[in-house]
């Protein structure tokens, strides 16, 4: 999908993205990064200037109605038909996605149950709370049981409880085999539910892949903390003299230190062996992990700003 442009602004540029089946893919980036444009191109709501989008092997631009069979979409800002009842709304989209007429009634009730709106089945949408409407929107998106769900900021504006319920629902759907493509500003959610991730800024994809791999690949340096059994060894001085070690901070009343090590696992192991051989009574070592949030802010500010 190499590009989509609006006016003079390049909203998504040279985008080459493949999301395997069964993944929960999180696309993150600041406002205006091109996330929504990307999602709209995937759903066929926008046509890329050049390149193509295919879902389940179906070209979205050439066979839009066929591609929609495999897609469920929820946009960030949306309304529902307030003059319909909850079941009528879900029923409308079940028909619009051309489900078997005989199966629609059962599926409508099943979907309403899955999003926890059984008690509101016959209520008018106008009377639902924000969280309920959000859940109904998701129900609409997966009523036709699509293999892929495309959700644009689904958790925005929800209270913590509703957000938690939403995450549980998405995980449940994913366990059932649904691929989920989600954009969000809530980075802790990405770590919690996403199996792969893409970081986007100014229309370009900075990093993309399985979450663990992205974290590992992006980790230029390791934050390591060493603890000694007793003070007496000049740990800070010894570390400062080692190649690849920087930012050494003594701690634990002379019985420990924190430092940054440039290198991979082998280099860490080598350094530890040397430390023990130098006579340091090492009793603990801890690598402090970088949260996705830190990684994201480092990438977005360091590489593109």
């Amino acid at each position: 999908m190499p590009g989509g442009k609006a006016g003079t602004l390049v909203a998504a540029n040279a985008l080459d993205l493949h999301v395997p089946q069964g993944e929960v893919f999180g696309l993150v980036g600041p406002n205006g990064a091109g996330k929504t444009t990307t999602l709209k191109m995937i759903c066929g709501l926008m046509t890329p200037t050049a390149g193509r989008v295919s879902v389940h092997g179906v070209d979205v631009e050439r066979h839009p109605e066929e591609a929609q069979r495999y897609l469920g979409y929820l946009s960030d800002f949306f309304s529902l038909y307030d003059d319909l009842k909850v079941w009528e709304y879900v029923d409308y989209f079940a028909r619009a996605y051309k489900m078997e007429v005989a199966a629609i009634s059962g599926r409508v009730d099943e979907v309403i149950g899955q999003v926890g709106l059984e008690g509101k089945r016959d209520s008018f949408i106008a009377g639902l709370s924000r969280g309920m409407k959000q859940r109904l929107g998701i129900a609409r998106a997966f009523v036709h049981n699509p293999p892929a769900l495309i959700l644009d900021e689904p958790a925005s504006g929800l209270d913590p409880k509703a957000r938690h319920e939403l995450k549980q629902l998405l995980l449940k759907l994913n366990r059932g085999g649904t691929t989920i493509f989600i954009t969000t500003h809530i980075l802790s959610d990405v770590e919690e539910i996403c199996t792969s991730v893409g970081i986007m800024e100014k229309g370009r994809l900075l990093r993309c892949g399985p979450l663990a791999a992205v974290m590992q690949e992006s980790r230029g340096a390791r934050h390591i903390r060493v603890r000694l059994a007793a003070p007496g060894f000049a740990l800070a001085e010894w570390l400062a003299a080692q190649p690849g070690v920087s930012d050494v901070k003594p701690g634990d009343a002379g019985a420990g230190a924190e430092f940054i090590l440039a290198g991979d696992d082998a280099r860490t192991s080598e350094l530890l062996r040397a430390l023990v051989a130098a006579g340091a009574p090492v009793c603990g070592i801890q690598e402090s992990g970088e949260a996705f949030e830190q990684l994201y802010s480092r990438l977005s500010s360091g590489e593109t700003m």
Binding site: A6, G7, F77, F78, D83, L84, Y92, F93, A96
Partner: protein
């Protein structure tokens, strides 16, 4: 395709609009109104000849027309616009409904409440028809006119709704403005054209004064004419007005639906009313209809209609087609996104000339097609009096088409410029240019009339419509110099357009990038 009664959009509208409580309230209100109006009409019938029944019938049909036409038209005019404002329209675009299914669901679904009110008014209309001994065929034909005419109006409302910009509130007003001429058209009687009343009100006229007979007569100049409004002349042959009107409604509905269906699920950036081939087809169709019904008549010195002069007919069709060609050309102009996509499709390198002269080729094709149609029609009708200098006529056509292309190339270039409202700027600049040219030329009226005529044709090309034989002969080779000047201006705008396209073209990959890709 899904049948209408299983169409999800139609069902949604049924559920939303036809709730039992609302239906009951509407039914009771309309019944009370019908009874009150019926009683008032009956009580006012003093002579006891049963005229009240006809009045009741016409009143009921008029109410039905206003409710279905105006209220239904407004419902359609707001339907897509409102969905876009509420961000619900995208969800319909990503469903598996085809554009035709979605369009039909909206066309018949959005005005459902108007249909219900029309149905509630039916008992009053039926009572009037029965008491007035109106033949059932007349009543049914009247209803057919009324419904089909309103459906055309509804489709137009949907199209306006689709093309109305977000945040704009002009759709209801535009529809109201449209409704008035549509209604007014019904009063037009056959004079110049061979077609009678053609608005939905024709249905009411038919139930009152219609006939199934076709009638023709010969006027004092020996030409065939139709004394009855229910007889049309197509290429000089009498045909009953009812099938003519039904065919006209159906074809116009088809054209509107075509535009609706090809754009309904598109990204608004890619909106294109018709494809170039369809636009040429529409232009030919409009000319065909005009030519079929056109009766070249004008008021003679003795106060009755006489055959029009050949030159008058030529100028009429030339003027009409220039307007249509301009509209066609404007509807084909590309915006930046469309141009960029085409440039990307053609790949790296300078944009080719075919793209740079857009939409010139289609406008020329349309001009040739229309010219052939018009020439064929009038060459086969040698009864037109007067003479027409073919050389001058050909020059006028070529000159005006080139001038039209000049303006279209200008608009196409301006539309690709980087500014907030490039097209609006282009319209304003051209408007200012024409106004200034007009003012300036009027102050130079001290020049001789021949020089003025030639001079004014450069900035204001349509001045050549007023060219006569003397001006043509006296101008001589100078006319071709002016034509060359217009062509030169066309070339300038094409070059500017090409430069804009070149800026959009994807740049060639650099050598290191190519190596990396390899």
């Amino acid at each position: 395709m899904i049948p209408l009664f299983s169409n999800p959009e139609f069902i949604r509208n049924c559920r939303a609009q036809l709730r039992p409580g609302r239906l009951l309230a509407t039914l009771v209100t309309v019944a009370l109104l019908s009874i009150t109006i019926g009683y008032a009409i009956h009580a006012g019938d003093d002579d006891g000849r049963g005229e009240w029944a006809k009045t009741l019938l016409v009143t009921s049909l008029s109410f039905q027309l206003v409710v279905l036409g105006l209220a239904g038209g407004l419902a359609c005019g707001l339907s897509i616009y409102r969905e876009r404002e509420q961000n619900t329209f995208d969800f319909q675009r990503v469903t598996r409904m085809t554009p035709m299914e979605l369009a039909l669901g909206k066309l018949f679904g959005a005005p459902l409440l108007s249909y219900f009110i029309t149905l509630c008014l039916m008992p009053a209309a039926l009572v009037g028809a029965a008491v007035a001994h109106t033949p059932p065929s007349f009543f049914l034909t009247s209803m057919l006119f009324l419904i089909l005419g309103c459906v055309v109006f509804h489709a137009l409302g949907l199209l306006l709704s689709l093309f109305s910009p977000r945040g704009g509130t002009g759709v209801p007003g535009a529809l109201l403005l449209l409704f008035l001429p549509v209604m007014a058209m019904t009063g037009v009687s056959e004079s110049r054209s061979g077609v009678a009343a053609d608005g939905p009100w024709a249905g009411i006229a038919f139930v009152m004064e219609g006939t199934w007979r076709t009638e023709t007569a010969v006027d004092r100049s020996g030409a065939l004419y139709t004394p009855s409004e229910w007889t049309d002349l197509i290429f000089g042959r009498p045909v009953h007005h009812v099938p003519v009107l039904l065919v006209l409604y159906a074809t116009f509905l088809a054209w509107i639906l075509l535009a609706l269906v090809r754009n309904l699920k598109r990204d608004p950036v890619d909106f294109e009313l018709y494809s170039p081939a369809q636009s040429v087809g529409l232009l030919c169709y409009l000319n065909f209809v005009t030519l079929a019904f056109y009766r070249a008549r004008e008021w003679g010195p003795l106060g009755y209609l006489v055959p029009a002069q050949r030159a008058t007919v030529f100028l009429l069709f030339l003027g009409m087609n220039l307007v249509l060609l301009f509209v066609l050309g404007m509807s084909l102009l590309h915006n930046r996104e469309q141009s960029r996509r085409r440039v990307y499709e053609r790949g790296v390198g300078k944009p080719d000339w075919i793209e740079a002269v857009w939409p010139g080729a289609y406008v020329l094709l349309a001009a040739v097609a229309v010219a052939l149609l018009v020439i064929t029609r009038f060459e086969l009708a040698p009864q037109l009096p007067g003479t027409l200098d073919k050389g001058m006529a050909a020059f006028q056509v070529v000159f005006l088409v080139v001038a039209l292309l000049r303006d279209l190339f200008y608009f196409q270039w301006m539309k690709l410029r980087r500014s907030r409202y490039p097209f609006v700027s282009a319209v304003i600049f051209l408007g200012v240019f024409y106004v200034c040219s007009g003012v300036l030329l009027s102050t130079l009226s001290g020049l001789g009339s021949r020089q003025m005529f030639l001079l004014s044709s450069v900035p204001i090309p349509w001045a050549v419509l007023g060219m006569d034989q003397q001006a043509w002969t006296e101008g001589g080779v100078l006319w071709f110099t002016i034509l060359a000047a217009q062509l030169g201006l066309c070339a300038v705008f094409v070059m500017l357009h090409r430069r804009q396209l070149a800026e959009m073209a994807p740049s060639a990959p650099s050598a290191p990038a190519e190596a990396e890709a390899a």
